[in-house]
Protein backbone atom coordinates (compact mmCIF):
# COMPACT_ATOMS: atom_id res chain seq x y z
CA UNK A 1 0.00 0.00 0.00
CA UNK A 2 2.72 2.37 1.04
CA UNK A 3 4.80 1.51 -2.01
CA UNK A 4 1.83 2.16 -4.24
CA UNK A 5 1.37 5.56 -2.67
CA UNK A 6 5.08 6.29 -3.08
CA UNK A 7 4.89 5.36 -6.72
CA UNK A 8 1.84 7.51 -7.24
CA UNK A 9 3.61 10.36 -5.48
CA UNK A 10 6.74 10.02 -7.55
CA UNK A 11 5.07 9.44 -10.88
CA UNK A 12 2.18 11.87 -10.76
CA UNK A 13 1.68 13.96 -7.67
CA UNK A 14 5.14 15.43 -7.21
CA UNK A 15 5.49 16.47 -10.88
CA UNK A 16 2.02 17.94 -10.67
CA UNK A 17 2.91 20.01 -7.62
CA UNK A 18 6.12 21.09 -9.30
CA UNK A 19 4.22 22.25 -12.37
CA UNK A 20 1.72 24.14 -10.27
CA UNK A 21 4.55 25.87 -8.45
CA UNK A 22 6.13 26.82 -11.75
CA UNK A 23 2.85 28.19 -13.02
CA UNK A 24 2.47 30.28 -9.89
CA UNK A 25 6.02 31.54 -10.35
CA UNK A 26 5.07 32.77 -13.82
CA UNK A 27 1.56 34.04 -13.19
CA UNK A 28 2.15 36.08 -10.04
CA UNK A 29 4.93 38.28 -11.46
CA UNK A 30 2.88 38.57 -14.64
CA UNK A 31 -0.14 39.90 -12.78
CA UNK A 32 2.02 42.35 -10.87
CA UNK A 33 3.52 43.44 -14.18
CA UNK A 34 0.04 43.94 -15.62
CA UNK A 35 -0.96 46.07 -12.64
CA UNK A 36 2.10 48.25 -12.95
CA UNK A 37 1.79 48.42 -16.71
CA UNK A 38 -1.48 50.30 -16.24
CA UNK A 39 0.35 52.60 -13.86
CA UNK A 40 3.21 53.02 -16.33
CA UNK A 41 0.79 53.77 -19.09
CA UNK A 42 -0.84 56.56 -17.19
CA UNK A 43 2.48 57.97 -16.07
CA UNK A 44 4.11 57.81 -19.51
CA UNK A 45 1.18 59.36 -21.32
CA UNK A 46 0.88 61.98 -18.62
CA UNK A 47 4.54 62.87 -19.04
CA UNK A 48 4.12 63.15 -22.80
CA UNK A 49 1.15 65.41 -22.31
CA UNK A 50 2.93 67.44 -19.62
CA UNK A 51 0.63 66.29 -16.83
CA UNK A 52 1.42 64.56 -13.58
CA UNK A 53 -0.63 61.38 -13.84
CA UNK A 54 -1.65 59.38 -10.74
CA UNK A 55 0.16 60.74 -7.68
CA UNK A 56 -2.31 60.57 -4.81
CA UNK A 57 -2.52 56.95 -3.63
CA UNK A 58 0.79 56.00 -2.04
CA UNK A 59 4.20 57.54 -2.83
CA UNK A 60 4.23 58.74 -6.47
CA UNK A 61 0.84 57.12 -6.83
CA UNK A 62 2.46 53.69 -6.71
CA UNK A 63 -0.49 52.09 -4.94
CA UNK A 64 -2.95 53.34 -7.55
CA UNK A 65 -3.23 50.01 -9.47
CA UNK A 66 -3.97 48.16 -6.24
CA UNK A 67 -6.64 50.67 -5.33
CA UNK A 68 -8.15 50.31 -8.81
CA UNK A 69 -8.12 46.56 -8.49
CA UNK A 70 -9.89 46.67 -5.12
CA UNK A 71 -12.48 49.05 -6.48
CA UNK A 72 -13.34 46.70 -9.35
CA UNK A 73 -13.30 43.70 -7.04
CA UNK A 74 -15.80 45.22 -4.65
CA UNK A 75 -18.27 46.48 -7.22
CA UNK A 76 -21.41 44.65 -8.25
CA UNK A 77 -21.34 42.43 -11.33
CA UNK A 78 -24.21 43.48 -13.55
CA UNK A 79 -25.76 40.98 -15.96
CA UNK A 80 -27.85 42.72 -18.61
CA UNK A 81 -31.29 41.08 -18.77
CA UNK A 82 -31.24 40.59 -22.52
CA UNK A 83 -27.76 39.11 -22.54
CA UNK A 84 -26.85 35.49 -23.16
CA UNK A 85 -25.66 34.87 -19.61
CA UNK A 86 -23.33 31.91 -20.02
CA UNK A 87 -21.50 33.24 -23.04
CA UNK A 88 -21.48 36.69 -21.45
CA UNK A 89 -19.59 35.35 -18.45
CA UNK A 90 -17.34 32.96 -20.35
CA UNK A 91 -16.03 35.70 -22.65
CA UNK A 92 -13.94 37.64 -20.09
CA UNK A 93 -12.70 34.43 -18.50
CA UNK A 94 -11.59 33.17 -21.89
CA UNK A 95 -9.73 36.38 -22.65
CA UNK A 96 -7.92 36.27 -19.34
CA UNK A 97 -7.22 32.55 -19.55
CA UNK A 98 -5.76 32.79 -23.06
CA UNK A 99 -3.56 35.71 -22.06
CA UNK A 100 -2.07 33.51 -19.33
CA UNK A 101 -1.71 30.11 -21.03
CA UNK A 102 0.39 31.57 -23.81
CA UNK A 103 3.20 32.12 -21.30
CA UNK A 104 3.70 28.39 -20.98
CA UNK A 105 6.12 28.30 -23.90
CA UNK A 106 7.95 31.61 -23.36
CA UNK A 107 11.60 30.94 -22.45
CA UNK A 108 12.96 33.32 -19.80
CA UNK A 109 16.51 32.03 -19.99
CA UNK A 110 18.31 29.05 -21.37
CA UNK A 111 16.30 26.07 -20.14
CA UNK A 112 13.95 28.17 -18.00
CA UNK A 113 10.62 27.51 -19.67
CA UNK A 114 7.49 25.76 -18.49
CA UNK A 115 6.93 23.68 -21.64
CA UNK A 116 9.77 23.48 -24.12
CA UNK A 117 7.66 22.14 -26.99
CA UNK A 118 8.79 21.67 -30.57
CA UNK A 119 6.12 23.89 -32.05
CA UNK A 120 6.33 26.78 -29.63
CA UNK A 121 5.95 29.45 -32.28
CA UNK A 122 2.86 27.77 -33.67
CA UNK A 123 1.46 27.43 -30.17
CA UNK A 124 1.85 31.15 -29.57
CA UNK A 125 0.32 31.89 -32.95
CA UNK A 126 -2.60 29.60 -32.22
CA UNK A 127 -3.25 31.15 -28.82
CA UNK A 128 -3.05 34.69 -30.10
CA UNK A 129 -5.44 33.82 -32.91
CA UNK A 130 -7.93 32.63 -30.30
CA UNK A 131 -7.93 35.97 -28.54
CA UNK A 132 -10.61 37.17 -30.90
CA UNK A 133 -13.16 34.82 -29.35
CA UNK A 134 -13.29 36.63 -26.04
CA UNK A 135 -14.12 39.84 -27.82
CA UNK A 136 -16.55 38.49 -30.37
CA UNK A 137 -18.39 36.45 -27.73
CA UNK A 138 -18.61 39.46 -25.44
CA UNK A 139 -19.88 41.60 -28.28
CA UNK A 140 -22.56 39.11 -29.21
CA UNK A 141 -23.63 38.03 -25.75
CA UNK A 142 -24.08 41.58 -24.47
CA UNK A 143 -26.99 42.00 -26.87
CA UNK A 144 -26.13 45.63 -27.36
CA UNK A 145 -25.48 47.21 -30.73
CA UNK A 146 -22.34 49.04 -29.67
CA UNK A 147 -20.83 45.94 -28.19
CA UNK A 148 -21.81 43.95 -31.26
CA UNK A 149 -20.25 46.42 -33.66
CA UNK A 150 -17.11 46.37 -31.58
CA UNK A 151 -17.02 42.59 -31.67
CA UNK A 152 -17.45 42.47 -35.44
CA UNK A 153 -14.77 45.06 -36.01
CA UNK A 154 -12.37 43.24 -33.82
CA UNK A 155 -13.02 39.87 -35.47
CA UNK A 156 -12.29 41.21 -38.95
CA UNK A 157 -9.31 43.17 -37.72
CA UNK A 158 -7.62 40.38 -35.83
CA UNK A 159 -8.12 37.83 -38.58
CA UNK A 160 -6.67 40.25 -41.13
CA UNK A 161 -3.55 41.03 -39.18
CA UNK A 162 -2.95 37.45 -38.20
CA UNK A 163 -2.21 36.72 -41.83
CA UNK A 164 0.76 39.06 -41.97
CA UNK A 165 1.92 37.96 -38.53
CA UNK A 166 1.89 34.42 -39.88
CA UNK A 167 4.11 35.34 -42.80
CA UNK A 168 6.49 37.25 -40.55
CA UNK A 169 6.75 34.18 -38.35
CA UNK A 170 7.46 31.96 -41.36
CA UNK A 171 10.30 34.22 -42.51
CA UNK A 172 11.84 34.03 -39.05
CA UNK A 173 11.37 30.27 -38.92
CA UNK A 174 13.12 29.88 -42.24
CA UNK A 175 16.15 31.67 -40.86
CA UNK A 176 16.09 29.62 -37.67
CA UNK A 177 15.14 26.22 -39.04
CA UNK A 178 13.08 25.32 -35.99
CA UNK A 179 9.74 26.11 -34.40
CA UNK A 180 11.13 25.93 -30.88
CA UNK A 181 11.31 29.33 -29.19
CA UNK A 182 14.55 28.55 -27.37
CA UNK A 183 16.10 27.67 -30.72
CA UNK A 184 14.83 30.97 -32.11
CA UNK A 185 16.67 32.84 -29.39
CA UNK A 186 19.85 30.77 -29.67
CA UNK A 187 19.93 31.41 -33.43
CA UNK A 188 20.35 35.11 -32.62
CA UNK A 189 23.64 34.64 -30.75
CA UNK A 190 25.63 36.21 -33.56
CA UNK A 191 23.13 38.78 -34.69
CA UNK A 192 19.68 39.77 -33.55
CA UNK A 193 17.07 39.29 -36.21
CA UNK A 194 16.09 42.94 -36.05
CA UNK A 195 19.11 43.67 -38.26
CA UNK A 196 18.50 41.34 -41.23
CA UNK A 197 14.72 41.48 -40.85
CA UNK A 198 14.28 45.16 -39.96
CA UNK A 199 11.13 45.72 -42.08
CA UNK A 200 9.58 42.61 -40.56
CA UNK A 201 10.23 44.00 -37.10
CA UNK A 202 8.10 47.01 -37.90
CA UNK A 203 5.40 44.94 -39.55
CA UNK A 204 5.29 42.63 -36.55
CA UNK A 205 5.19 45.50 -34.11
CA UNK A 206 2.37 47.26 -35.95
CA UNK A 207 0.45 44.03 -36.45
CA UNK A 208 0.95 43.38 -32.76
CA UNK A 209 -0.76 46.68 -32.02
CA UNK A 210 -3.66 45.66 -34.24
CA UNK A 211 -3.80 42.16 -32.79
CA UNK A 212 -4.04 43.47 -29.23
CA UNK A 213 -6.56 46.13 -30.30
CA UNK A 214 -4.27 48.89 -29.13
CA UNK A 215 -4.21 52.44 -30.35
CA UNK A 216 -4.04 53.49 -33.18
CA UNK A 217 -6.01 50.34 -34.06
CA UNK A 218 -8.37 50.38 -31.09
CA UNK A 219 -11.47 50.55 -33.25
CA UNK A 220 -13.24 47.73 -31.39
CA UNK A 221 -13.42 49.97 -28.35
CA UNK A 222 -13.43 53.34 -30.05
CA UNK A 223 -14.90 55.54 -27.31
CA UNK A 224 -16.06 58.28 -29.62
CA UNK A 225 -18.29 56.12 -31.81
CA UNK A 226 -18.84 52.88 -29.89
CA UNK A 227 -18.73 54.15 -26.28
CA UNK A 228 -16.04 51.54 -25.45
CA UNK A 229 -17.18 48.84 -27.87
CA UNK A 230 -17.33 45.21 -26.89
CA UNK A 231 -16.95 45.76 -23.15
CA UNK A 232 -19.51 48.50 -22.78
CA UNK A 233 -21.93 46.31 -20.81
CA UNK A 234 -19.30 44.85 -18.48
CA UNK A 235 -18.63 45.95 -14.97
CA UNK A 236 -16.69 44.89 -11.89
CA UNK A 237 -14.74 41.60 -12.09
CA UNK A 238 -15.68 40.60 -15.67
CA UNK A 239 -14.53 44.00 -16.79
CA UNK A 240 -11.36 43.63 -14.74
CA UNK A 241 -10.68 40.29 -16.43
CA UNK A 242 -10.94 41.92 -19.85
CA UNK A 243 -8.65 44.65 -18.70
CA UNK A 244 -6.11 42.23 -17.28
CA UNK A 245 -6.30 40.08 -20.39
CA UNK A 246 -5.70 43.03 -22.67
CA UNK A 247 -2.64 44.18 -20.79
CA UNK A 248 -1.31 40.66 -20.36
CA UNK A 249 -1.64 40.29 -24.11
CA UNK A 250 0.36 43.46 -24.61
CA UNK A 251 3.12 42.06 -22.45
CA UNK A 252 2.92 38.79 -24.35
CA UNK A 253 3.23 40.57 -27.69
CA UNK A 254 6.24 42.45 -26.37
CA UNK A 255 7.75 39.20 -25.19
CA UNK A 256 7.20 37.68 -28.63
CA UNK A 257 8.80 40.70 -30.29
CA UNK A 258 11.78 40.40 -27.97
CA UNK A 259 12.17 36.71 -28.64
CA UNK A 260 11.75 36.94 -32.39
CA UNK A 261 13.72 40.09 -33.11
CA UNK A 262 15.62 41.30 -30.06
CA UNK A 263 17.41 38.15 -29.02
CA UNK A 264 15.20 37.15 -26.06
CA UNK A 265 17.31 36.74 -22.93
CA UNK A 266 20.62 37.29 -24.75
CA UNK A 267 22.63 40.36 -23.83
CA UNK A 268 23.49 42.74 -26.69
CA UNK A 269 26.90 42.40 -28.38
CA UNK A 270 27.72 39.13 -26.62
CA UNK A 271 30.13 40.89 -24.24
CA UNK A 272 31.33 39.19 -21.08
CA UNK A 273 30.63 42.32 -19.09
CA UNK A 274 27.00 42.36 -20.23
CA UNK A 275 26.60 38.61 -19.91
CA UNK A 276 27.17 39.05 -16.19
CA UNK A 277 23.64 40.40 -15.90
CA UNK A 278 21.27 37.40 -15.83
CA UNK A 279 19.16 36.56 -18.87
CA UNK A 280 15.70 37.17 -17.36
CA UNK A 281 16.73 40.74 -16.55
CA UNK A 282 17.69 41.37 -20.17
CA UNK A 283 14.47 39.79 -21.28
CA UNK A 284 12.44 42.01 -18.92
CA UNK A 285 14.30 45.11 -20.09
CA UNK A 286 13.53 44.31 -23.71
CA UNK A 287 9.89 43.67 -22.92
CA UNK A 288 9.75 46.98 -21.09
CA UNK A 289 11.29 48.72 -24.08
CA UNK A 290 8.72 47.31 -26.51
CA UNK A 291 5.93 48.11 -24.06
CA UNK A 292 7.19 51.66 -23.95
CA UNK A 293 6.80 51.81 -27.73
CA UNK A 294 3.20 50.60 -27.32
CA UNK A 295 2.49 53.45 -24.91
CA UNK A 296 4.42 55.99 -26.94
CA UNK A 297 2.38 55.13 -30.03
CA UNK A 298 -0.83 55.52 -28.07
CA UNK A 299 0.15 58.97 -26.91
CA UNK A 300 1.25 60.05 -30.38
CA UNK A 301 -1.00 58.76 -33.14
CA UNK A 302 -4.65 59.39 -33.95
CA UNK A 303 -6.93 56.42 -34.52
CA UNK A 304 -7.09 54.79 -37.96
CA UNK A 305 -10.26 54.78 -39.98
CA UNK A 306 -11.57 51.24 -40.53
CA UNK A 307 -10.98 51.15 -44.29
CA UNK A 308 -7.46 52.47 -43.76
CA UNK A 309 -6.83 49.72 -41.25
CA UNK A 310 -7.97 47.04 -43.69
CA UNK A 311 -6.02 48.61 -46.52
CA UNK A 312 -2.84 48.61 -44.46
CA UNK A 313 -3.30 44.98 -43.47
CA UNK A 314 -4.26 43.46 -46.79
CA UNK A 315 -2.72 45.74 -49.38
CA UNK A 316 0.53 46.75 -47.71
CA UNK A 317 1.58 44.28 -45.04
CA UNK A 318 0.41 41.08 -46.68
CA UNK A 319 2.13 41.60 -50.07
CA UNK A 320 5.22 42.95 -48.40
CA UNK A 321 5.60 40.12 -45.91
CA UNK A 322 4.93 37.60 -48.69
CA UNK A 323 7.59 39.15 -50.90
CA UNK A 324 9.97 39.26 -47.95
CA UNK A 325 9.34 35.58 -47.33
CA UNK A 326 10.28 34.76 -50.92
CA UNK A 327 13.37 36.96 -50.72
CA UNK A 328 14.40 35.38 -47.43
CA UNK A 329 14.05 31.91 -48.88
CA UNK A 330 16.02 32.91 -51.99
CA UNK A 331 18.83 34.56 -50.03
CA UNK A 332 19.14 31.62 -47.65
CA UNK A 333 19.22 29.20 -50.55
CA UNK A 334 21.78 31.06 -52.62
CA UNK A 335 24.12 32.02 -49.79
CA UNK A 336 24.00 28.53 -48.39
CA UNK A 337 22.85 29.84 -45.02
CA UNK A 338 19.93 27.43 -44.82
CA UNK A 339 19.96 26.09 -41.28
CA UNK A 340 21.17 22.45 -41.39
Amino acid sequence: MASLFLELWQAYLWPLILIILKIVAIVVPLLVAVAYLTYAERKVIAAMQMRKGPNVVGPFGLLQPIADGFKLFLKETILPTASNKVVYLIAPMLTFFLALVAWAVIPFDEGIVLADINVGVLYLFAISSLGVYGIIMAGWASNSKYAFLGGLRSAAQMVSYEVSIGFVLISILLTVGSLNLSDVVMAQKKMWFILPHLPLFFIFLISGLAETNRSPFDLPEAEAELVAGYNVEYSAMPFALFFLGEYANMILMSAMTSILFLGGWLPPFNLAMLAWIPGPIWFALKIAFVLFIFLWVRATFPRYRYDQLMRLGWKVFLPFSLAWLVITAGVLQFTGLVPK
Binding site: N84, I117, V119, F125, A126, Y133, I136, A156, M158, E162
Partner: protein, 204 residues
Protein backbone atom coordinates in the same frame (compact mmCIF):
# COMPACT_ATOMS: atom_id res chain seq x y z
CA UNK B 1 -0.20 4.76 -19.90
CA UNK B 2 -3.46 4.71 -17.94
CA UNK B 3 -3.49 8.48 -17.78
CA UNK B 4 -3.01 8.66 -21.52
CA UNK B 5 -5.88 6.29 -22.08
CA UNK B 6 -8.10 8.29 -19.76
CA UNK B 7 -7.18 11.52 -21.51
CA UNK B 8 -7.93 9.95 -24.86
CA UNK B 9 -11.40 8.91 -23.75
CA UNK B 10 -11.95 12.33 -22.23
CA UNK B 11 -11.07 14.10 -25.47
CA UNK B 12 -12.99 11.64 -27.59
CA UNK B 13 -16.09 11.82 -25.42
CA UNK B 14 -15.99 15.62 -25.35
CA UNK B 15 -15.53 15.74 -29.11
CA UNK B 16 -18.53 13.51 -29.72
CA UNK B 17 -20.65 15.35 -27.17
CA UNK B 18 -19.64 18.62 -28.79
CA UNK B 19 -20.55 17.24 -32.19
CA UNK B 20 -24.00 16.24 -30.99
CA UNK B 21 -24.51 19.66 -29.45
CA UNK B 22 -23.46 21.35 -32.70
CA UNK B 23 -26.49 19.94 -34.46
CA UNK B 24 -28.89 20.01 -31.53
CA UNK B 25 -28.19 23.48 -30.12
CA UNK B 26 -31.14 25.82 -30.55
CA UNK B 27 -29.06 28.89 -31.13
CA UNK B 28 -26.73 28.75 -34.16
CA UNK B 29 -24.12 30.84 -32.36
CA UNK B 30 -24.01 28.17 -29.70
CA UNK B 31 -23.64 25.60 -32.47
CA UNK B 32 -20.53 27.34 -33.73
CA UNK B 33 -19.15 27.59 -30.21
CA UNK B 34 -19.68 23.85 -29.74
CA UNK B 35 -17.98 23.31 -33.07
CA UNK B 36 -14.97 25.09 -31.62
CA UNK B 37 -15.07 22.71 -28.67
CA UNK B 38 -15.01 19.83 -31.16
CA UNK B 39 -11.99 21.31 -32.95
CA UNK B 40 -10.15 21.70 -29.68
CA UNK B 41 -10.74 18.13 -28.67
CA UNK B 42 -9.67 16.93 -32.09
CA UNK B 43 -6.48 18.95 -31.64
CA UNK B 44 -6.07 17.28 -28.28
CA UNK B 45 -6.41 13.86 -29.88
CA UNK B 46 -3.74 14.83 -32.42
CA UNK B 47 -1.46 15.87 -29.57
CA UNK B 48 -1.95 12.51 -27.90
CA UNK B 49 -0.85 10.82 -31.10
CA UNK B 50 2.29 12.92 -31.09
CA UNK B 51 1.22 14.95 -34.10
CA UNK B 52 1.82 18.33 -32.50
CA UNK B 53 2.12 20.16 -35.80
CA UNK B 54 -1.29 19.01 -36.99
CA UNK B 55 -2.79 19.88 -33.62
CA UNK B 56 -1.50 23.43 -33.74
CA UNK B 57 -2.44 23.92 -37.38
CA UNK B 58 -5.92 22.65 -36.63
CA UNK B 59 -6.29 25.28 -33.94
CA UNK B 60 -4.76 28.07 -36.03
CA UNK B 61 -6.70 27.36 -39.20
CA UNK B 62 -10.03 26.01 -38.04
CA UNK B 63 -10.50 27.70 -34.69
CA UNK B 64 -8.51 30.85 -35.37
CA UNK B 65 -9.81 31.62 -38.84
CA UNK B 66 -12.58 29.39 -40.19
CA UNK B 67 -14.76 29.30 -37.09
CA UNK B 68 -14.31 33.02 -36.52
CA UNK B 69 -15.72 33.68 -39.96
CA UNK B 70 -18.52 31.17 -39.33
CA UNK B 71 -19.36 32.99 -36.14
CA UNK B 72 -19.14 36.27 -37.94
CA UNK B 73 -21.66 35.18 -40.54
CA UNK B 74 -23.98 33.33 -38.17
CA UNK B 75 -24.15 36.30 -35.82
CA UNK B 76 -25.24 38.54 -38.67
CA UNK B 77 -27.89 36.17 -40.00
CA UNK B 78 -31.50 36.78 -39.21
CA UNK B 79 -33.14 33.40 -39.53
CA UNK B 80 -36.32 32.16 -37.99
CA UNK B 81 -35.04 29.05 -36.29
CA UNK B 82 -38.40 27.69 -35.31
CA UNK B 83 -39.24 27.53 -39.00
CA UNK B 84 -35.92 25.92 -39.76
CA UNK B 85 -36.50 23.30 -37.07
CA UNK B 86 -39.74 22.14 -38.67
CA UNK B 87 -37.81 20.87 -41.66
CA UNK B 88 -35.48 19.06 -39.28
CA UNK B 89 -38.14 16.67 -38.04
CA UNK B 90 -39.49 16.26 -41.54
CA UNK B 91 -36.14 15.14 -42.93
CA UNK B 92 -35.10 13.21 -39.85
CA UNK B 93 -36.25 9.75 -41.02
CA UNK B 94 -34.57 9.89 -44.43
CA UNK B 95 -31.47 11.50 -42.96
CA UNK B 96 -31.28 8.88 -40.26
CA UNK B 97 -31.71 6.13 -42.84
CA UNK B 98 -28.79 7.39 -44.91
CA UNK B 99 -26.72 7.76 -41.77
CA UNK B 100 -27.52 4.24 -40.61
CA UNK B 101 -26.70 2.78 -44.03
CA UNK B 102 -23.32 4.50 -44.02
CA UNK B 103 -22.68 3.43 -40.44
CA UNK B 104 -23.55 -0.19 -41.18
CA UNK B 105 -21.31 -0.17 -44.22
CA UNK B 106 -18.50 1.29 -42.21
CA UNK B 107 -19.04 -1.37 -39.58
CA UNK B 108 -19.06 -4.12 -42.21
CA UNK B 109 -15.90 -2.72 -43.65
CA UNK B 110 -14.19 -2.48 -40.28
CA UNK B 111 -15.12 -6.04 -39.38
CA UNK B 112 -13.93 -7.23 -42.76
CA UNK B 113 -10.75 -5.33 -42.32
CA UNK B 114 -9.99 -6.82 -38.96
CA UNK B 115 -10.69 -10.32 -40.28
CA UNK B 116 -9.01 -10.21 -43.66
CA UNK B 117 -5.50 -9.75 -42.34
CA UNK B 118 -4.26 -8.90 -45.79
CA UNK B 119 -4.55 -5.15 -45.51
CA UNK B 120 -2.05 -4.51 -42.71
CA UNK B 121 0.58 -6.41 -44.70
CA UNK B 122 0.17 -4.26 -47.76
CA UNK B 123 0.01 -1.02 -45.80
CA UNK B 124 3.04 0.95 -46.78
CA UNK B 125 5.36 2.02 -43.96
CA UNK B 126 5.18 5.73 -43.06
CA UNK B 127 7.67 7.48 -45.26
CA UNK B 128 10.11 9.20 -42.87
CA UNK B 129 11.25 7.64 -39.62
CA UNK B 130 9.49 9.52 -36.86
CA UNK B 131 12.35 9.06 -34.47
CA UNK B 132 14.75 10.87 -36.78
CA UNK B 133 12.87 14.11 -37.25
CA UNK B 134 10.04 16.13 -35.72
CA UNK B 135 6.73 15.63 -37.39
CA UNK B 136 6.77 19.19 -38.72
CA UNK B 137 9.89 18.32 -40.66
CA UNK B 138 8.50 14.99 -41.72
CA UNK B 139 5.37 16.59 -43.12
CA UNK B 140 7.35 19.24 -44.95
CA UNK B 141 9.61 16.57 -46.32
CA UNK B 142 6.84 14.52 -47.81
CA UNK B 143 4.80 17.50 -49.03
CA UNK B 144 7.62 19.02 -51.00
CA UNK B 145 9.01 15.86 -52.55
CA UNK B 146 6.69 12.91 -52.96
CA UNK B 147 3.45 14.86 -52.93
CA UNK B 148 4.66 18.03 -54.61
CA UNK B 149 2.16 17.57 -57.42
CA UNK B 150 -0.76 17.26 -55.04
CA UNK B 151 0.45 20.19 -52.99
CA UNK B 152 0.61 22.44 -56.02
CA UNK B 153 -2.71 21.17 -57.32
CA UNK B 154 -4.35 22.07 -54.00
CA UNK B 155 -2.95 25.55 -54.49
CA UNK B 156 -4.68 25.74 -57.88
CA UNK B 157 -7.95 24.59 -56.32
CA UNK B 158 -7.74 27.34 -53.73
CA UNK B 159 -6.90 29.90 -56.40
CA UNK B 160 -10.01 28.90 -58.35
CA UNK B 161 -12.10 29.21 -55.21
CA UNK B 162 -10.73 32.70 -54.75
CA UNK B 163 -11.40 33.73 -58.35
CA UNK B 164 -14.90 32.31 -58.03
CA UNK B 165 -15.81 34.14 -54.86
CA UNK B 166 -14.49 37.42 -56.22
CA UNK B 167 -16.23 36.93 -59.56
CA UNK B 168 -19.57 36.15 -57.97
CA UNK B 169 -19.60 38.83 -55.30
CA UNK B 170 -17.37 41.78 -56.16
CA UNK B 171 -19.30 44.72 -57.52
CA UNK B 172 -17.75 47.98 -58.50
CA UNK B 173 -20.10 50.69 -57.37
CA UNK B 174 -19.76 53.77 -59.48
CA UNK B 175 -19.60 57.02 -57.60
CA UNK B 176 -17.87 55.79 -54.45
CA UNK B 177 -14.85 57.78 -53.39
CA UNK B 178 -11.63 56.01 -52.61
CA UNK B 179 -8.74 57.27 -50.63
CA UNK B 180 -5.57 57.56 -52.67
CA UNK B 181 -2.84 57.98 -50.13
CA UNK B 182 -0.01 58.67 -52.55
CA UNK B 183 -2.07 61.43 -54.13
CA UNK B 184 -2.77 62.91 -50.76
CA UNK B 185 0.88 62.83 -49.82
CA UNK B 186 1.94 64.29 -53.17
CA UNK B 187 -0.25 67.31 -52.75
CA UNK B 188 1.62 70.52 -52.04
CA UNK B 189 0.22 73.71 -50.55
CA UNK B 190 1.18 75.59 -53.67
CA UNK B 191 -1.12 73.41 -55.82
CA UNK B 192 -4.22 74.27 -53.86
CA UNK B 193 -3.54 77.30 -51.79
CA UNK B 194 -3.32 80.78 -53.09
CA UNK B 195 -2.35 83.56 -50.78
CA UNK B 196 -3.66 86.94 -51.71
CA UNK B 197 -3.22 90.24 -50.14
CA UNK B 198 -6.67 91.46 -49.30
CA UNK B 199 -6.90 95.21 -49.33
CA UNK B 200 -8.77 96.33 -46.29
CA UNK B 201 -12.31 97.24 -47.09
CA UNK B 202 -11.85 96.02 -50.71
CA UNK B 203 -12.65 92.32 -50.64
CA UNK B 204 -11.85 90.02 -53.56
Amino acid sequence: MIIQGLVFYLFAALAIAGGVLVISAKNPVHSVLWLIVVFFNAAGLFLLQGAEFLAMVLVVVYVGAVAVLFLFVVMMLDINFVQLRQGFLHYLPSGALVGIVLLVELAVVLVGWAVSGEAPKSLAAPAPELAKMTNTEALGHILYTQYLYLFQASGVVLLIAMIGSILLTLRHRPGTRHQNISRQVDRHPKDTLEIRKVPSGGGI
